[in-house]
Structures are given as C-alpha cells and as structure tokens.
Amino acid sequence: MKSIKKTVLALIVPFGIIVAWYLAVKYGHTPEGILPSMEKVWKAFKTNIENGQLTNDVLVSLSRVVKGYFVAAILGIVAGSVIGMSKTAKDLFLPIITVIRQIPIIAWIPLIILWCGIGEESKVVIIVLAAFFPILVNTENGIEKTPEGMLEVARLYKLNPWKTFIKVYLPHALPHMLVGLRLGLGVAWMAVVASELIAASSGIGYRMSDARSLMMADVVIVCMLVVGIIGVVMDKLIGVIFGMFTPWEKLKKA
C-alpha cells in the first residue's frame, strides 16, 4: 500500500511536466528548433539509436568515466585512510585540501586544457579531480571516527597496524567510503559531460554541443535525458553492489 502511494506521488510532477510540454507545443507556437514536440524527440532518439551514434557517444563518455573514476577511487581511499589515521598527515594536508575543494570543477577545465590539451587525457584528469575529493573526504571521515573502544580491543589482542587497519578501521569506514564512492561517481559523470561540452570531438557532451550549433533541440533533449537516466542507473547499481559489502549496516536500521 505504502509503496503504491509512493510511486503515485513520484509520478505526479513528471506527468505535469509532460502535460505542460504538450500544451506549450500545441498552443504556444514556439519554433521547432527551440522546443520540439515529444514525437520529434522520440523520433530523434530512434534514429540516433538506429545509426549507432548515441550508443557510441555514451560508450565513449562512459569509458572516460570508468578510467578516471578508478584512479580517483584508489587515490581517494589511500589518501583518505592515511589522513584519517595519522594526525600529522591530517594537519599537513587537510587545510590545503579544504581550500582546493572549494574550486568548482568547471573552473579547472581551462587550466587542464592548457596543460593536457583537448584529448583523452584532459577528460580523464578532470574526472579524477572531480571524483577524488568526495571519496577522500568521506574515507577520511569514516577512518577518523573509528571509536577508541574498538581500537582498544585491537590493542588488547595485539593486532599489528596493518591488521588493525584491515579488521577495525576499514570495516568501520566502509559505509562512509561507499557514500564517498557514490557521490564521486555522480560527480564524475557530471564532470565528463561538462568537459565534453567545452572541448571535445566525441562523447555525449560533444553531441549535445554539436546539436545545439545545428539548432537540433530534439537531439539536445535526447542527450540530456540519456545523461540523466544513466546517472540514476549508475547510482542505483552502485548502491546495490555496495549494500552487499556491508550486510551488518542493514541490521542497524531495522
């Protein structure tokens, strides 16, 4: 019963948008290049799937995200763990990290293009930069908040530093880490689209910018919808996978 109510409530606003869109096209006399009809968007979606362009664009963007995200996850988890366990490392790095984090990822793009060009590397570097900080900060937080009592148990049983990390710090930080990894993936996906919009010759962001210059609003909307849906799918997927790693977390909430 509750879930039905939830689904109905979630659908009301999208339905309203569709109705408004329909009415705007029918009675608003907007030019096709600015606001195309739903039918036209659907047709654009079909042709772009059929000729393989859309799939290709998505794959190019996704492969960039995977590369950058992988590097960012490793760097973020290692750096976050070190800073979380060592007070010295924290005092050394955290202030500067906090400052750098405030710079929006878009603001990095000009400098990255100057340094790495507009090829593959610059996209990957931008994704690494974007995903690194949420992963680092959340990992650090999870490691640092490990209760002193649990560490005392580790000392009682004379666990060496590495085992203490594996058996106490890491499992305690895991849920926090997963939050960071989830946020990082979302940010990475946004960053790749943004960087492709600004300077690229392939990828879904490039397709949008290309379609805009040709006044093809239908293709722009198709790309936007695809970006949104892929983002949601990735987020749900990663949530399910991570849930399997932390079975004890579910019990806590119950």
Partner: protein, 300 residues
C-alpha cells in the same frame, strides 16, 4: 680510574638486587598471579598533572575473585587497564605471573562495560577475534566451546546488532575467555544490563569462574554485586584513588539474604558514604572552583 671502580661496584649492586627481585618473584609466583605495589598514576588535565591512583598495593592469588568498588572517577577502571597493560603507569610495581606488565598479553583477557563487539563481524568471528594465530580447526573448536559456555549456541552466524544487551555481553565474555586466559579483568561488565539479567549473569560468571578456575578481577559500582561475587572486596576512595580497605568475604556472606551479607553491605556503605569523605569531596570541588576563578582573573 676511580669512576670505573665505582661503576663496577654499582653494577655489582644492581646484579645482587636483581637476583633478590628474581627470588622474590619466584616465591610470589606461586601464590600471587597479580602483584601491585606502591602504584602511582597521574593524568594530565589541562596540562596539569592530577593524581588518579595513589599508593595502590594489591596482591591477588591464583583463582581468586576480586571485586573493586568505589565512586565513579576513583580510578578503578584505570587500575584495571594498568593491570591489563592498556595504560602506562608512572611509579610502582605491577606484575602478572611474576613479570612486570609491559603490555596486553594473551593470558590476560578483558571485558568492557559496553560489549565492544565489532558490528561487522559475526558472533563467531567476534569471539574468535584474538585467536587468529591458531589453526582454523582449533579456533572453531574454542569458539564453539565458549559460546556454549555462555549459552549462545546457535547464534554463531548472527551479527551483534541482532542480539540483546545481555546476549552481547555474554558474547563479550566468551571473547574474553576464548584464548583460555588465566586472568580475566571485567570493567563493570553488567553495568548496562537490567536488574534481572544482571543477577542471572552474576550467577553465570560465578559458575564459569569455578569451572575454569580463572582469576577474575571485576570493577563494579554495585555493592551487592561486589559482595556476591568477590572473595575479597577492594573499597576505593576518589581523587586520588586510594584503597580504603580490602574486605574478606566469607562463603556464607555471599548469600544475598544472609545476615552477614547485610553487615558487609553496611560496612561498605559506611566507607563510601561517610560524612568525612563527603566533606573531602566538597572541599576538593570548591578548591577546584577557586582555582578556575583565579585562572579566569589572570587571563582577563
């Protein structure tokens, strides 16, 4: 020349002293499993040293059950952690099995007030937490045996979040006993349990202690508990923590409804709540407040 001779003489002295100490240890080794002499401990509070424990002397025999009672903040938990090797001490002698305590050891288990089970490990892995050095089969055997001992058979694959407070505390006791320690230190292990569960757990810990003949030292703030469980009761005063008395409890006195039980209870009450002591703590607090005010004045 003169200096070297002096040095040699000093060395000679040290050696004879060491031999003496060794002999003492050997002699004590048979009777006393834990030996604390002239122990002092200070904590730094606002960069100023504060005495937590002052001149503690306590020798514990093999197989004895010692309970320690005192007001909160009297350093009884600190004393336990020093015996365990989790906390350093400034001055005095602390020995387990005739050797100075330098850190935690496998023959000395500890159970804390909050069960401190690791939420990400199943109960069997929590109980076997200190047994990673053992081969898998022996480890499983020890875990099975100790879970059965505390009445948690069938909960091997549960997570701590699925157990009640009493059951978690049983699991913590099983973990403390899993590597067959000769000493088990218990820091208010039943403090967070309801009254009925607590009495049941007291019975069980006594049964386990008799079965395993483990030496147990338990810190508690429950006077009844101290009398029911302890062969001897250590009564401590606060700030700095000092031993006021060590009361020997007769077997008959451990019965809750016996006359002797009442007498022990009154004696401990008198120690802990005598007016003299209350006055002392008030004085302590007022002088503390004076100092804080002075500090503030100086600062402004």
């Amino acid at each position: 020349m003169g200096e070297t001779i002096k040095g040699q003489q000093n060395d000679q002295k040290k050696k004879t002293n060491m031999i003496k100490v060794d002999q003492e240890c050997f002699m004590k080794g048979n009777d006393y499993i834990i030996n604390v002499e002239h122990l002092h401990k200070q904590f730094l509070v606002d960069k100023k040293p504060m005495d937590v424990l002052s001149d503690i002397n306590l020798s514990i025999k093999r197989g004895e059950f010692i309970t320690i009672v005192g007001h909160s903040g009297c350093g009884k938990s600190t004393l336990l952690k020093i015996m365990c090797g989790l906390v350093d001490y400034e001055d005095g002698i602390v020995e387990r099995n005739g050797h100075a305590v330098v850190g935690p050891g496998p023959k000395c288990g500890m159970v804390f007030q909050d069960h401190r089970l690791l939420p990400w490990l199943k109960i069997k892995d929590n109980v076997g937490f200190g047994l990673s050095a053992l081969p898998k089969k022996e480890r499983e055997e020890s875990v099975r045996k100790h879970l059965e001992m505390v009445g948690l058979k069938g909960f091997e694959n549960s997570y701590p979040a699925q157990l009640s407070g009493g059951m978690s505390q049983r699991a913590a006791i099983a973990r403390g006993l899993a590597n067959n320690p000769t000493i088990l230190l218990l820091d208010e292990p039943f403090g967070a349990l309801d009254a009925l569960t607590r009495i049941q757990m007291q019975k069980e810990i006594l049964r386990i202690q008799k079965e395993q003949s483990t030496t147990m030292v338990m810190v508690t703030h429950d006077i009844d508990e101290a009398i029911v469980l302890g062969n001897r009761i250590v009564v401590m005063s606060a700030r700095p923590g000092k031993i006021m008395d060590i009361i020997k409890v007769s077997e008959a006195g451990r019965e809750r409804n016996s006359e002797e039980f009442g007498r022990y209870k009154k004696k401990i009450y008198d120690y802990l709540f005598s007016e003299e002591n209350n006055e002392m703590t008030y004085k302590d607090v007022s002088s503390d407040i004076d100092e804080i005010q002075k500090k503030k004045k100086n600062a402004s």
